[in-house]
Amino acid sequence: MRNNRDRAGSLVTHALLIFFALLAVAPILVIVVNSFKTTQGIFGQPFALPNADTFSLGGYERVFTRGQFVTNYGNSLIVTVGATVATLVLATLAAFALTEYKVRFAPLVGGFFVLGIMLPIRLGTVPIIKTMISWQLMDTLVALILVYTAMSLPLAIALLMTYFKAVPGAIKEAARIDGAGELRTLSITLPMVRPGLAAVASVTMLPIWNDLWFPLILAPSKENQTVTLGVQQFVGQFLNDYPALLGALTLGAVPLIVLFVVFSRQFIQGLSAGIGK
């Protein structure tokens, strides 16, 4: 009896999840399938598999001959991973300090960080360019990493603070009594804020990988182009090279999905091993 009900419940759960997973993935399959077709094939029968008439690898060919996809990939990876790591490190230190040390101006500093979530960073473009020029960072990936880190810190700190607040004080006190320094104490609490780190890593990575504006402004030369900027060359004023565009988009999406799987597995494992279990 009990067993049957469990089985039925599990069937329903799977059915629902399969439905939503299909809803999530089917449109992406449309992109992937169409990237193997000619332009006429894409618009003629957008939901059909490629046939002898419409099959074409021309898009991918142009992606690799016209663009420098490998360079673009490398640049995007360096920028995304660099900015995410820098954000995690700096935000962890700051969020720990903001929750741990009850100094008088702590709320002020915290509030100052939080303000940064509320302004569109594009607004600061021109002063940012001026700073980069005077630091001789124009047209480098470092410029991108710095801006993205600065842009991601406010949210990262705000999120991590809510997680650090939840860490029981007794654990930190115990560590200190054992003679641990402040940084050691911080590292002892880290496993407990792992879900927070996971959340920060994923919300930081996503907009950076897909951003078009700052690569365009701060690192536009061919050597420093990121994937999103590289893809743009297939979007014309009037004429789009659809097969190449879809091919480039398909290839461009893969690393972030891989990154997400790696990050999420890492953190979710820590999660189930950590708090409350």
Partner: protein, 292 residues
């Protein structure tokens, strides 16, 4: 409270503070400053609140502003009412304990849209709902009444992974012994969820709601990718982000106006600030009362 605390506080916050101040806060303050100046003639002239008065009294600019604000509220409401409950449902299903090895696979598949560039999202949904090539006869994006809800739902499709992953993490953190106790009592999955798990993760909703508010009021990318910087039809999909972009940088038919653009940005900032401050103020008070 001692001096060591001050020292640690400074050392730990300084690196983040330095990067944040130099590459975000100062540039933003520098630009916001323009909202008090008139720079059209080439030299900056201090004009006080004139730009703000102009924004709200010029018939065209004020109409566009209120239109964008209303649209943005709708954009936010759809996210709050569709994306968050859907995220909860998915997180609940993923942690229902009825899946074994497949959890990771489902989680990844459901999160994939979140990782995509808006160029893909815009292109594929436009194709799917295209009256000529797609599956829907009605011009959803061409009708003033349906265009914004349609774009909002595309955005929900893309970003539902975010509330899902937040709530998923919170649900995983529910202690096993609590669940065990419920099971011993003979509580079913449905009632365990609502009686035991849900109250424990409820505080997460405040955070998710305020983040959704901030994100949707800073929203820009998807609308811009789909409809450009003067998003039609008849500005029915114009939100504050596109209004700011169009004013600050100009569009193909409109000249860039740095001062007015900065003015729009600071008004957006205030709109977000008031709500966020209220939220954190309330939260802060509640946390304080817990501590007492």
């Amino acid at each position: 409270m001692n001096r060591a605390h001050y020292r640690y506080f400074l050392v730990f916050t300084l690196p983040a503070l330095a990067v944040y101040v130099v590459f975000a806060a100062l540039p933003l303050v520098n630009s916001i400053w323009y909202s008090l100046y008139d720079t059209d003639s080439g030299v900056a002239r201090f004009v006080g609140l004139e730009n703000y008065v102009y924004l709200f009294t010029n018939p065209t600019t004020s109409e566009r502003f209120w239109n964008a604000l209303t649209n943005n509220l709708e954009f936010f409401a759809i996210h709050l009412l569709v994306e968050v409950p859907l995220g909860l449902l998915l997180a609940a299903l993923l942690t229902s304990g009825r899946l074994r090895r497949s959890t990771g696979l489902y989680r990844t598949l459901l999160f994939i849209p979140t990782t995509l560039s808006v160029v893909i999202v815009g292109f594929v949904w436009r194709l799917i709902i295209n009256p000529l090539w797609g599956l829907v006869d009605f011009p959803l994006l061409g009708d003033e009444r349906t265009a914004l809800p349609t774009i909002s739902l595309m955005s929900v499709w893309q970003y539902v992974g975010i509330p899902m992953i937040f709530l998923y993490a919170a649900l995983l953190a529910v202690p096993n012994d609590v669940l065990e106790a419920a099971r011993v009592e003979g509580s079913g999955a449905w009632s365990t969820f609502w009686r035991v798990k849900f109250p424990l993760i409820a505080p997460q909703f405040g955070l998710i709601a305020i983040l959704t508010y901030i994100w949707t009021f800073n929203g820009f990318d998807l609308v811009f990718a789909l409809n450009g910087s003067a998003p039609g039809p008849n500005y029915s999909t114009d939100i504050l982000g596109t209004l700011f972009y169009r004013t600050f940088f100009g569009s193909s038919g409109q000249l860039s106006d740095l001062d007015l653009g900065a003015t729009v940005a600071s008004v957006i900032f205030l709109i977000i600030l008031v709500v966020t401050a209220a939220y954190f103020g309330l939260l802060h008070r509640r946390l304080r009362s817990y501590e007492l």
